[in-house]
Symmetry: C2
Subunit: 442 residues, 2 copies
C-alpha cells in the first residue's frame, strides 16, 4: 500500500479543513475589526518580491531562510533565482511606502494579516508557511503613535479572548542609559544587551558568566547589572540608576509617558516597565514591548519604534512604529468551541423522486434567500431513511421533506432533527418559518 | 532621480491599497456567503506544493508556467527545484481528497478562493498572481450535483451584482454524438472540437478552412457542421442530428435534465443549450458550461463534470463536477461605488494638549467599543485648525473636541464635519450618541 505521506502537504506547511479554517478566519476577522476601528487600513502585497528587494534585509541567517524562485523558460537552466517569497510583511511595507508615498494618508496607519514563508527547520509550532499579523504607523514620531499601537494590540488580544496576558515595556534609550550608568564600555554594549535578553531563559549566574567570558565585561559590573535586574525591586533600582544618565532619563520619560497615555484603557496589571526587556532586533530606536502569556514560552506579540528602518529598506527616511501579533501562538490559547463535526448546513432538503427534484432546488433557493444555509440531497437513493441519515450527518437542524403527497397538498414537512418532531408548513411559508426557527438558539 | 520602478511590485503582480483591497474582499465575502449557504465548505491549502505533485499535471505548456522554488542551503547551488507555487486549486483539491478522504463529508462540497501563480507573460488583465474562485463536488455522480454547481455559481454572480450574464450549456456526450452524427472519423474528433471551439472568434469560413486544411476533415462534412452550428436555428438542427446517435441522445438528456432542474431558480433567458460550446480542457466527461457577459471577451465563469480527473491527479477515482468564477474578470464589471478617498474613520478625536492626551485615548476607546471606527490625532500640532484639517482628510463624519474647558465641564464637543454644526455632549454619553449618529446614513 502506498504511504499516505505522498499526499501530505509539503514539509512545514498545513492544509486547513473547514472547522480549522473557520476558526482561524474568525480570529482574523476579530483582529481586522479592532484594527479597522482604530483607523488602520489594510495593505495587500504580492506573495513574492523581486529577489533584490529582499536580499540583505534579514542578516546572514535570515537570508538563508528566504525561499527563492527559479528563473523561467530558457533561463531556468542557469539555476538562478530572480524572485523570492516574502519573508515578512515589513519589507513589503517599506517598498509600498516608497512606491505610493504621496497617495497614502499621513501618517500611514496600515495593517496586514497574511502568510509569510521561511525555510526554517519545521518543528512543533514552527512552520514554513505561517500568518503574520502586523500593524504599523509610518510618518509619525509622536509618542501618541507608540501608545496607539500598544492600545490596538491590547484591544485585539482582549477581543480575541486571550485569557491572560501582560505588556512588558522598555525603551532602547533606557537600555542605552543603563549601559551608561553601569559604565559598560560602548563597544561592548550591543553584545551585553544580547546576553541580558537571556535573563528569562538562563539563570542569573549563567548570564553573569556569559557577560564576563563571552562579552568581556568586568566581573563586578556584570554582577552588579544582573543583581539589579533580577532583584525583587529591579524597577526601582534601575529607575534610580537611570537618573544618572541623560539618555536614561529620556528613556524613562518615554516609558512613563506610554504608561500614562494607556492608563484607564489598559488595566494597570496588564502593562509594566520591564528593565531587562531587550528585543533581539537592533533596528528599534525608542519604545520596545513584548506581550507574554502564562505557560506560553516567548512572546505572543511584540513591537516598538523603529525610526530609520524604512530608509534602510529602501524607502525615504520616515519615523515609524509598529507591532505584530504572534497569531500562530495565540490561536492555541483561545477557547476551542465544542466543534463536533463541522456543520455545513442548517437545513437539509430531501429529493423524493426525479420529478420532484427541480422543486426541491427551488425550495432550497427560497430558504437560502432568507439567509439560511441549505443543502439539497445529492445522492442516488430515493429512500427516506437514507436521506434522514444524510441530513443528520451534515449537522442539519431541520429537514424539509417534500414528496408527492406534500406537492399535492401545497405543503412541505419540516422535521426538527433534534426532537424528531414534524410539522406541516404551507409551501409559500417555509422559507420564513425556517429563518425564524434557525435564528433561535439550537 | 532614481526611477520609481524599483519600488513597483514584481512584474505581473499587484499591490492592493485599502480601497481596492476592500472592494475585492467585499466581493469574496459575498461569494463565500452564497457558497456557504449552499453547504459548500472552505478548504485552504499551502501556497506551494512539492514539485512532483504539480509536475505533468498541466501539459507541456502549463508546466512551463509553473513557478519553481530553488532548493535551499547546501542544495541551492545545484540550481534544482523541489517545490513549486500552486498553479490552480484543482490539483491541491485532489491531493487533499487523497489525504483526508475518510475525514471528509461525502459528497465533499468544497470551495476555495485563493491566489494562484502562473509565469504567463503579463498583459492587460493578465497577471502572474491572481485569485481563483472554485467550487467542486467530489464523490457524487448525480445530475443533481451538476445542477447545484450551476445554481451556486448563478446565485454568486447574481449576489455580486453582475448586471447581465448567460450560462451556455453543452455536454461532452452531446459533442461526441455530434461527431458521430456527422461521421467525423474518430481519430480526427479531438482536433475538430478544438477548431469548432473557435467559432466565437473566427468567421465560419475560417473555421471551415481550418477543419479541412488543419484537421483533415472532408470539405462537405466541415461545411455541413459549420453551417448547422452557425445557423439561426442551430439548436433545433443539432437536436435533430443528435437523435441519430445513442451517445448524442444521452448527452441531450443530460442537458435537458440540467435545464429542468434549474428551471424556476435560474431565469430562462440566462441559460441555454449551446451546441458549439466545447471548453478547451479535455478532462471533462459530461456537462460543460461557460458563463458569458456582454462586452467581455471569453467567459466569466465555467466548469463541468470531470469524473476521472481526481484519479489522474493522484487520488482515488471519484466522480466530480465543479466550476470556477473568473473573479479577476468579474470585478471590473461590478458597480464601482463612488470611492472618494478611502475613509479610514468615522470619528476623529482631537488631542488638545499633553495632559489631555490620555483622556482622548480613553474617549476613543469608549467610542470604538460602541462599534464606531475612531482615530486619535497623532500629529505634533496642538492647533485646532490643523486638527480639523486632519479630521477632514481622514474622511471623518464627526470630530470629538476635548479641551481643558470641556474637561472642566465634564463634556465633549461633537462637531458634524459635513455641516460644521457643534453640540455639547455629556462625557459619559458621547459613545452612545456617536454610535447613534454614525448608524444614520451620511
Amino acid at each position: 500500500m502506498a504511504s499516505q505521506k505522498q499526499f501530505d502537504p509539503a514539509s512545514g506547511t498545513r492544509d486547513f479543513l473547514a472547522a480549522e479554517y473557520e476558526r482561524r478566519e474568525r480570529a482574523f476577522t476579530t483582529i481586522r475589526g479592532v484594527f479597522g476601528r482604530y483607523g488602520f487600513e489594510p495593505l495587500q502585497t504580492p506573495a513574492f518580491e523581486r529577489l533584490d528587494v529582499l536580499t540583505g534585509k534579514y542578516g546572514d541567517e535570515g537570508d538563508k531562510l528566504v525561499f527563492k524562485i527559479l528563473r523561467r523558460g530558457e533561463h531556468e537552466a542557469t539555476g538562478e533565482a530572480d524572485l523570492a517569497l516574502r519573508y515578512d510583511l515589513t519589507v513589503p511595507l517599506a517598498r509600498a511606502v516608497a512606491a505610493y508615498g504621496s497617495q497614502l494618508p499621513s501618517p500611514y496607519k496600515r495593517y496586514a494579516i497574511a502568510p509569510v514563508w521561511r525555510a526554517d527547520r519545521p518543528g512543533k509550532g514552527r512552520f514554513r508557511e505561517f500568518v503574520q499579523c502586523d500593524l504599523d504607523i509610518v510618518g509619525s514620531s509622536s509618542p501618541l503613535s507608540d501608545a496607539e499601537v500598544v492600545l490596538a494590540l491590547h484591544d485585539a488580544l482582549d477581543a480575541l479572548g486571550v485569557p491572560e496576558f501582560r505588556f512588558l515595556v522598555n525603551s532602547r534609550r533606557a537600555l542605552a542609559g543603563l549601559l551608561e550608568a553601569y559604565k559598560v564600555p560602548a563597544d561592548l554594549g550591543p553584545g551585553v544587551l544580547i546576553t541580558l535578553d537571556k535573563l528569562d531563559k538562563l539563570s542569573p549566574d549563567e548570564v553573569v558568566t556569559e557577560l564576563v567570558a563571552g562579552r568581556g565585561l568586568a566581573a563586578g559590573v556584570a554582577q552588579g547589572l544582573v543583581d539589579d535586574l533580577t532583584s525583587a525591586d529591579a524597577v526601582e533600582r534601575v529607575r534610580g540608576e537611570l537618573k544618572g544618565s541623560e539618555t536614561g532619563q529620556a528613556g524613562l520619560a518615554e516609558i512613563d509617558r506610554l504608561l500614562r497615555l494607556t492608563q484607564g484603557t489598559i488595566p494597570d496589571e496588564r502593562i509594566a516597565f520591564t528593565p531587562n526587556l531587550v528585543r533581539g532586533l537592533d533596528y528599534y530606536t525608542g519604545i520596545i514591548f513584548e506581550v507574554v502569556a502564562p505557560d506560553t514560552p516567548g512572546s505572543i506579540a511584540s513591537g516598538g519604534r523603529y525610526d530609520h528602518l524604512i530608509a534602510t529598506l529602501g524607502g525615504k527616511d520616515a519615523p515609524a512604529c509598529g507591532g505584530s501579533l504572534g497569531i500562530e501562538r495565540i490561536l492555541p490559547l483561545l477557547d476551542q468551541p465544542d466543534e463536533r463535526h463541522y456543520s455545513q448546513i442548517d437545513v437539509a432538503v430531501t429529493v423524493m423522486g426525479d420529478d420532484l427534484a427541480a422543486e426541491s432546488f427551488r425550495l432550497a433557493a427560497q430558504i437560502r434567500r432568507a439567509g439560511v444555509r441549505t443543502g439539497v440531497y445529492l445522492g442516488a437513493s430515493g429512500k427516506f431513511r437514507t436521506q434522514m441519515k444524510w441530513a443528520n450527518d451534515q449537522g442539519a437542524r431541520f429537514c424539509v421533506i417534500y414528496g408527492a403527497a406534500e406537492r399535492d397538498a401545497g405543503e412541505v414537512i419540516v422535521r426538527d432533527m433534534g426532537s424528531g418532531e414534524q410539522i406541516r408548513v404551507q409551501h409559500g411559508q417555509v422559507a420564513a418559518e425556517l429563518a425564524r426557527r434557525c435564528a433561535a438558539p439550537s
